[in-house]
Amino acid sequence: MAKLSPRDIKRKIQGIKNTQRITKAMKAVSAAKLNKARAMLNATRPYSERLYDLINDVAAFVDRDIHPLLQVRDEKKIDYIVITADRGLAGAFNSYVIKRTLSDIQKFQQEGKEVNLILIGRKAVQFFKNKGYNIIESYEDVYRDNLNLTFTSKVGSILSERYENQKTDAIYLINNELITTATYETKVRKLFPIEPELDYSKISELSRYNIEPSADEVLEELLIRYINFQLYRALVESSTAEHAARMLAMDNATRNAGEAIKRWTVIFNKARQEAITTELIDIINAATAIQK
């Protein structure tokens, strides 16, 4: 360090300043995206409330052992839907999900269960591919063009087909969720089998309804909408947490850069002072020599 000339140090400081400018900009971008994602998350509420109410009402009319999407079986085959981000630079955001998935897979396998993966997000795909895991589907770049139900209904139809045809006995969903602006958590939820909170109190009211073509078919329709919606919501949750994580990571990086700049400025000032002192000594020495 001591060997660096003041000019080298100045160049170094300039370099750190450039990096800081980038991290600052990334933080601002993430903050804007976080606001947008949060608004998207809040906007899901009216739909989910009405959808859940309807499912609970209609499920009371249907024999759950008969309905293929409501059947509960022994969990021998498990589908695990892993949701990460496409990009990094967000602290431990992606590695939390991957670590939890790995430990869950190990746990299921020890119990003698078969685990199949459905991967959403480039980081998950990059990690799990070519490592001997059973991968059913992998998707990347799903956040890029405005998240919507077109994508999730595609995944949803694959899932319901697998459940109905007993290729899987339980489907889990793992993703990060925002707890407060500064913290997020990795959550695992069971998507299938669905256990509606049956509301028998409304049966008399509902029996005045015309349910077309039949309660069974309307329930199936509701359950498909439910799967598609749960996937959509998990993706929005994950992207909200991702932007918060990146904002935080970039905020830390910006602060660290600021400290580095301070430290190097002190070193620069010392080096400059040294150079001046050396020059002064030279001049004084020379002047003294002439006087003599």
Binding site: P46, T150, S153, N165, R208, Y209, I211, E217, V218, R225
Partner: protein, 136 residues
Amino acid sequence: MYPLEVVTPKGIIYKGEAYQTVVRTADGEIGVLENHMLLLTKVLPGKLRIEKEGEEPKEIAVTYGIIDVRGDKVIILVEEAYEFGEIDVEKEKALLKEAEEKLAEREKLSLKEIEEFEKLKERAEILLELAGVKIH
């Protein structure tokens, strides 16, 4: 007039009074007026028309969902809803192409998959038509 709500996962698209609502369902196109019988049925992709007295009717494109005609109000839950001009023509064309390609080799598909791709094809065709795009 009765209160109507049209809700998608992206938010409440419409909340207000309606004189008549016309929507495509499993039973064909239905018009819901005040005091309609209580009804719960599937909504299929197509045009949703909301008529109010003394106002131009509002027309939007919707995809799959449920209509819940209750005594006190009508709720329509749909996965996607677009103004005709907002329909992503490129995306729908890509979906149509995908569905047609898969269906061209239907012997490779399961019954459930055939059903899914038929639905996808229908959805894309209807949305493209509402967007004013000529297919084929």
